[in-house]
Symmetry: D2
Subunit: 129 residues, 4 copies
């Protein structure tokens, strides 16, 4: 799996709020898109993983904001895979508008089964730092 | 089941968009809240219905807008149950801010099972016009 | 301006709900994306229109659902411009998954200024049926 | 201003995702509701602040998740005001379902004017640790 993946995201009108900027909660949706597309680029389909009972759930997530993104901006999301242990999967994120850093974030995901019980990350996903 | 139910909804910041008004798509979320609370007032819990394999899905929905609602407005949603046949369930909605009509809508719901197959509405739900 | 425009939309995880399908309210966000991209294809930028005091607001919108779309589906949205008068702008929509019709909709937009007062649609936008 | 404020939030159907749990990004919307209601309990209206050119923007926010909340759950959000300096405003959050800890979070807000320029927090808002 590549360690870094880039996608472009065009800001939707609904993603802005009364301040005319992207509402801060929407960056977490962008991060999720980044993880999914990174997985797809590596040949995996997150929907298929779920069908196989491998549900990734967010354990911890954070974001720091530097600039306000506006409607119709094209943002570049850089998703970085830091490591995957049997227990956790760690990503970092950068949101850029051209050369400008709009936001950066980090997340830790855990693996659960359909009933919500924590399970080990599948062996093939484990990836050292 | 009563034929009309009222709830108050306070507009969340995230529900506004760059025009400083509630984004039009959010009214459909309000309508859904109205249906759920009307059901609850009649002693039914929609989550329990789903557990029993009775999934209500929107077949057709519409909304007409007269005024823009703003952040922090308290809106009154009036949900009206028009009728429930074996095939369909029809509601109408009015969104008010004090005496002013902000929006009105209508929906038709169908009943499906977990696999998405259409099924008859449960007998106890049927309600003539 | 072309009368029909197509875009592909990949369903985001957050757009699904507890039924595992795209929540019905999200189709209205898709329709908005379709209108914006149709405008862009014609050389207009909706953000610039707003900067010039031309705000398009939804007056009436509706959607009918035929199939449930799932996470990661690639949907094709066909946006059709029916006509633009001095008072109104009418669109129709079809959401397809391959050859299957998932949903169809229609909307009527009005034009307002920054203060929310209705104004005439700009002359250059008027387009007969 | 009180240092701790509680509100109850009923989970909306649209807030759940395909895993049947509240999508993690929605907790940030809950936190925002908590901040607004804490401010209101102290006699301030965030909308009025914005009208006066005092816009609070999220500089950094994080959340850690312990349990999945489901549709129709009644969650108790405890918002804690840690301190307000001339530059920053810090909150912590706990989301409970009965006695169970569902999630906890923290945020740092900054103050900007309408043009997005950072400005000092108004004197009356400053509150030591």
């Amino acid at each position: 799996m590549e360690r870094e993946h880039r996608i472009d995201i065009r800001v939707r009108y609904q993603e802005t709020d009364g301040q005319g900027r992207v509402h801060h909660a929407n960056y977490f949706t962008y991060f999720e898109m980044g993880r999914v597309e990174m997985l797809r680029a590596a040949g995996y389909d997150y929907g298929v993983l779920e069908d196989e009972g491998i549900l990734l759930v967010v354990h911890k997530i954070e974001c720091q904001y530097f600039l306000g993104a506006k409607y119709d901006d094209i943002l570049t999301l850089v998703t970085k895979l830091k490591r995957i242990t049997h227990a956790r999967c760690e990503h970092e994120y950068e949101v850029l508008r051209g050369e400008e850093l709009v936001a950066k974030g980090a997340s830790t995901l855990a693996c659960v089964d359909r009933s919500g019980q924590v399970r080990r990350m599948p062996e093939w996903m484990v990836l050292d730092d």
